[in-house]
């Protein structure tokens, strides 16, 4: 039995029998429709061009830096995917990351002997708590998550600053074992990146192959219909925010492990990069479609663009502009494909009638 939902002989046969007079989508159209594939192609092209200009781009150290650099963004982008798929958005992830990172540092300051897995769990728990605050407020206020998480973006960051009160935490304040987590590699692959891969795999597979995951798509696709089919929309949305918060908490702990030096400003402005990664990765901003894999690839692509600009000796100031242009291109492309698909499907049923 095949793991994918597109390739089983049974349903291919079904399609063939019913598809006699139906126009098949063109090759490029299908290629573009599988967003993960086109992202991989773009990523490959980018790496290829950069390597041709400077072959050290693919050297061990450079790749390691790249993987290390994208791990945190990948984790956040996966969390954001869960939220956006349900037609919501979580702008507070950067602040949650900052708060948890600083909290982790302070924790080690207060209890130097603490084993790092405990710190990790506590960080995730704090993130989940922040997410629960988001989810709870959204449930009470019944306003778009955009507004609430914009508010908590400020509030969590403010708490962070209030608590830090100008202090900085240095690598020396944290146990070695913890800092090693941030830089260690297994077979040349950074542990941080492996953690990110596990998160992507778990969330991506859950979204695709579990009832709970599919219900999230249902909610984002048509909330009213979701309610009528008995999906507990409020509970699911709440859970999604808790999950997003927990992942931001995880990212915060990893951020502390990786950078060692922490102040209250950690992760400022990260939320927009995260949303950008998800959108570039093909997660429709109005819910109902997209995958965690795509969002993760979007995050990798954004990070890679940053590094290759440096290698290509392009003014690093272009990076942000390129990110912006990519977002516009990604949503524009989605729109175009949606219009073409709609036209094709309409033509189909008109002929079928």
């Amino acid at each position: 039995m095949s793991l994918t939902d597109t390739g089983t002989p049974d349903d291919l046969a079904g399609r063939r029998s019913s598809g006699d007079d139906r126009r098949r989508p063109g090759f490029t159209e299908r290629l573009l429709a599988v967003r993960e594939l086109s992202l991989l192609l773009a990523l490959g092209a980018l790496v290829l061009v950069t390597t041709l200009r400077n072959d050290r781009f693919l050297s061990g150290q450079s790749v390691k830096d790249l993987l290390l650099g994208c791990a945190i963004l990948v984790i956040l982008a996966v969390g954001q995917t869960l939220v956006i798929v349900t037609r919501n958005v979580d702008l507070s992830v950067g602040s949650i990351l900052g708060l948890v990172a600083f909290c982790t540092g302070s924790l080690f300051l207060a209890a130097p002997g603490l084993p790092w897995p405990v710190a990790l769990l506590l960080g995730v728990a704090l993130g989940a708590l922040c997410g629960a605050v988001n989810g709870g407020l959204i449930a009470v206020a019944k306003v778009p998550a955009l507004v609430i998480t914009l508010g908590t973006l400020y509030a969590f960051r403010g708490i962070d600053y209030y608590w830090a009160a100008g202090r900085q935490i240095n690598a020396a304040d944290m146990p070695r074992s913890f800092l090693r987590l941030g830089n260690q590699t297994v077979l040349g692959v950074p542990v941080l990146f492996l953690i990110a891969v596990v998160v992507v795999a778990v969330v991506g597979y859950y979204l695709r192959a579990y009832r709970g995951g599919r219900e999230l798509y249902a909610i984002g696709s048509e909330p009213a219909a979701a309610r009528l089919s008995g999906i507990p929309v409020g509970r699911r949305v709440f859970a999604v925010f808790v999950a997003s918060g927990a992942l931001a908490g995880l990212a915060g702990v990893l951020y502390a492990a990786r950078f060692g030096t922490l102040d209250a400003a950690a992760g400022t402005g990260l939320e927009l990069q995260v949303v950008a990664a998800a959108v570039v990765g093909g997660v429709a901003i109005f819910g109902g479609s997209g995958s965690a894999y795509g969002a993760a690839l979007g995050a990798v692509l954004l990070t890679t663009i940053g590094s290759s600009l440096a290698v290509l000796r392009i003014d690093p100031f272009w990076q942000q502009a390129v990110v912006g242009a990519l977002i516009l291109a990604a949503i524009g492309l989605d729109r175009l494909l949606a219009l073409r698909t709609a036209a094709r499907l309409r033509g189909r049923s008109a002929r079928g009638a």
């Binding site: 039995m1 095949s2 994918t4 939902d5 597109t6 089983t8 049974d10 349903d11 079904g14 399609r15 019913s18 598809g19 192959a209 579990y210 009832r211 599919r214 219900e215 798509y217 249902a218 984002g220 696709s221 048509e222 009213a224 219909a225 979701a226 309610r227 009528l228 089919s229 008995g230 999906i231 507990p232 429709a284 109902g288 479609s289 698909t341 709609a342 094709r344 499907l345 309409r346 033509g347 189909r348 049923s349 008109a350 079928g352 009638a353």
Partner: protein, 507 residues
Amino acid sequence: MSPDSPGADRAPLLVLEGVTKSFGAVAALRGVHLALHPGEAHALVGENGAGKSTLVKILAGAHAPDAGRLALDGRPLELRGPADARAAGIAVIYQEPTLFPDLSVAENIFMGRQPLRGLRRIDTAAMNRDAARLFARLGVRIDPTRPARGLSIADQQLVEIAKALSFDARILVMDEPTAALSGVEVERLFGVARSLCERGAAVLFISHRFDEVFDLCQRITVLRDGAWVSTDRTSDLTVDAVVRRMVGRDVSSLYPKQDAPLRDTLLEVRGLGRAGVFSDVSFTVRGGEIVALAGLVGAGRSEVARAVFGVDRYDAGEVRVAGEPLPAGSPRRAIAAGLALVPEDRRQQGLVMELSVERNATLARRRALSRLGLLVGGAERVEAQRWTRRLQVKTSRLSAAVATLSGGNQQKVVLAKWLATEPRILIIDEPTRGIDVGTKAEVHRLLSQLANEGLAILMISSELPEVLGMADRVLVMHEGRMVRELSRAEADETSVMFAATGQGAAA
């Protein structure tokens, strides 16, 4: 059906007793009772606004009744949400399908009940197979792996039916499922409903098509104004008797169109076409004339109206108003040329529900009321007062949000809004949908009066008596084409129905 059908004497499966539901000050249901017997199809009929849809929503668990009891198998049943209704074996097919456009057809059918394999993962292959099997049982070809987005209404309805079939419902509620289906599809649906009945399920069928009601159902319950009127064996009833109970008065008096002198041609549509929607539509409307545009839902009538008015674009043909060509794609120019369109969907297209009566009534006329673009000195209030008074809109104050008005009064506000623009041509789409009988008569009187004053009126209506009573001429559309034009004398139920179902063209 014979009176001694198998389920006739068995104990009822589902019982509603004294069910009452109000929305704000409006009572939608007042002490309704209903008993559904196993193995029987039960029809629920009543005019628009009689409370049928509310009753359906209560059965679906979407609304909780204010008072009254539900019982299943003699045990009290409390539905706290749609999930409870499902768990109780109640499947509902709504008039408007509720699908997830981004998900595949198979997922739409099995959402929340997908077949699983190891580790509680969804077995996609099995799900697609099961969906294909359901469609085979329905005798239709829909690719289970395609997204629901872009399905025609009829196909969407079929997906809903497959969904209901998929969980072996003990009680199947069908809220006007046949509106968009062709004759063959209806037959197939009835076949499925009958086979469910044979297996001991109960069917509640809501329809405006009496031939279908009498064909499928063993009992008929009539609702009027939210209250129960009667429940009888189908064999004891005639169509006339049912209609009398539904309306509670003489039907013909509702449609008082008087003959008005015909004037010049005001609206002329030639060869209008829009790819995949309608093609080669031509007609004229003269001043003083009411022309009805009839046809099945989905025949393209509203789409023609929208294109003429400029809300949608068209690919071919032209529209002339009093001989002058009307530029396409601009409602603003259409309004300036003297066109008005009272749209089909009052809530989505006709009104801005959260704005006041005053703002709504003057929205289309705000330019004419302004001085140098400024709206000052209560010009809007005066204008709104003039029209709401003429149409007798019942509202506490003009600043009240339109959402607080009853359906009939809302429709009057829409009419006021368009009449305030002093149009020469009025296109009115389903003028009396969802409003009470009294207001219906008022609207009809008004249309007749307006025609008398020289307006050209194009009326789209799905209610045959309205078409026959009001129209000087009837144009019938079928699948995007104008198939028949009938004079007042030629038009009767049979001729319109024949043309609308595509048989008239051959005749």
